[in-house]
């Protein structure tokens, strides 16, 4: 049963084009750097919005 499943999985994997190391490294680095930069910008922006909103709320 297990052997059959492994053989089936091997047959399915055959012919799949996996990205090479250069492609994986390039895309991953781009995705990680973009995520970190954008989330930092979003964090700074939302924190400043919250500070302003809290200040306005404290006036009432």
């Amino acid at each position: 049963m297990m052997g059959k499943l492994i053989a089936k999985a091997k047959a399915s994997v055959k012919g799949i084009h996996w990205p090479n190391f250069k492609e994986i490294f390039g895309d991953t680095t781009f995705a990680v750097v973009t995520t970190v930069v954008l989330s930092l910008l979003v964090f700074l922006w939302t924190t400043s919005i919250e500070l302003v909103i809290n200040w306005i709320m404290s006036l009432f």
């Binding site: 012919g15 895309d27 991953t28 995705a31 995520t35 930092l40 979003v42």
Partner: protein, 419 residues
């Protein structure tokens, strides 16, 4: 820039909200395990009950419903195949259905949570006010998303979804760091940061592989001139490993979190049998060593995801239509006869890819759940689903920018040569 302006609406609280109840609701959602999922999809606006409390969740629901209806209703099938005009009609239909869902969700939220103490004054006009504000907020976000899609780079709704997720990331990173090294020495803290960075990088790389892997099917395209075959071109038709993207996980997570959310509305007693069964449905309770019995929910989640992946690939990948189109354009898959044999071959290939793709998808989806369960990190929204969405949107954005830059460079080159 537009997206940054939108974030203001995520933070402005609705007037007349009971802060104590809001805090209790946030804690209850976090402990039930669905808080993280909703927070990441709505950019924490759901937990804050701000102007954009629903965010674009009605649009996601309406897209799913319309896609499912397309299989059953022949008229919708006709519209979806009608080129760019059909696409515009489908967009308008998605918007209209999204607006209806937004009204229903806002009304259910304002009555359900309002009755339990969300508003300082629970009156009919407060319910009407909250319903109107949340519905208008959701419709506005959907409109912005569709406008971005039509005029700028990438898919607008996906971009909004990505920004929603990004707002919860810094909090998650701090959460993970505190769970492992809050009271450790400086060296242990630095080591934790380095290990965290490596693990996150590897997870991103895994998602990149999952997104990029494909099976290339070789097609020979021949055109006839009179009685003689003039030329034969070899082309490649790519079949993506993960055809359904993140949709199967979103489907199964939504189905499993639905009873938990309903229980929040009606209020189920903590020690009851229903509460224990519902705890198995919450991803936040899985892989918890103190209560291992709740991990039984994974046994439902895995087959449900496979079923949805199969179902979704059957909707989005119509082997018979592709085989017909290939035959009409005079193309054949090498070694396969046109017509029904081609359709059978494509279906067989798609099914074999589905098993591997969904297994890989399940692994990345359950990995963060397992880590947060085993190490006791609560309220984590940084799941496999969110990483798949982030990587997918960023890579799509990158490809669009590269394509547009190449197009501009080509046009300027043609212009120069013309002079």
């Amino acid at each position: 820039m537009i997206l940054f302006v939108l974030l203001i609406g995520y933070r402005i609280p609705l007037p007349g909200i009971n802060e104590d109840y809001l805090k209790a609701l946030g804690d209850s959602l976090t402990s039930s395990g669905i808080g993280g999922f909703f927070n990441s999809l709505t950019g924490s606006s759901f937990q804050r009950m701000s102007f954009f409390a629903l965010s674009i969740s009605p649009y996601i629901t309406s897209s799913i419903v319309l896609q499912l209806l397309t299989i059953i209703v022949p008229k919708l099938q006709e519209i979806s195949k009608d080129g760019s005009i059909g696409k515009q009609k489908m967009e308008r239909l998605t918007f209209a259905l999204g607006a209806i869902i937004a009204i229903i969700e806002s009304l259910a939220m304002s009555i359900g949570f309002g009755r339990n103490g969300l508003f300082t004054n629970y009156t009919w006009y407060m319910v009407l006010f909250a319903t109107t504000v949340w519905t208008v907020g959701a419709c506005f976000l959907i409109w912005v998303g569709q406008t971005i899609s039509n005029k700028l780079i990438g898919n607008g709704v996906s971009l909004i979804l990505m920004f929603n997720i990004l707002t919860t990331l810094p909090g998650d990173a701090i959460n993970i760091f505190n769970s492992f090294a809050a009271e450790s020495s400086w060296w242990a803290k630095i080591l934790t940061i380095v290990v965290m960075a490596i693990v996150i990088y590897l997870v991103f790389a895994y998602v990149v592989v999952l997104n990029s892997a494909e099976k290339k099917i070789h097609i020979t395209n021949s055109s006839k001139s009179g009685m003689r075959m003039r030329e034969a071109n070899d082309n490649v038709m790519p079949l993506k490993l993960n055809m359904g993207g993140v949709m199967p996980i979103i489907f199964s997570s939504s189905i499993m979190s639905f009873p938990v959310l309903i229980a929040q509305f009606v209020g189920v007693k903590e020690d009851s049998v229903a509460s224990k069964i519902l705890s198995c449905f919450s991803q936040g309770n899985w892989f918890n060593l103190d209560k291992p019995i709740y991990t039984v929910g994974v046994l439902l989640f895995v087959p449900l995801t496979f079923a949805f992946a199969y179902f979704y690939s059957m909707i989005s990948f119509n082997a018979k239509d592709i085989a017909d189109n290939l035959r009409k354009s005079g193309s054949i898959i090498n070694g396969i006869r046109p017509g029904q044999p081609t359709a059978d071959y494509l279906e067989k290939e798609a099914k074999s890819m589905l098993w591997i793709g969904t297994t890989m998808l399940l692994f990345i989806s359950l990995l963060p759940t397992a880590i947060s369960g085993l190490f006791g990190i609560r309220g984590l929204s940084f799941g496999g689903t969110t990483i798949i969405i982030i990587v997918g949107v960023i890579l799509e954005m990158k490809n669009t920018i590269v394509a547009q830059t190449s197009s501009v460079a080509y046009k300027s080159l043609v212009k120069k040569k013309g002079r």
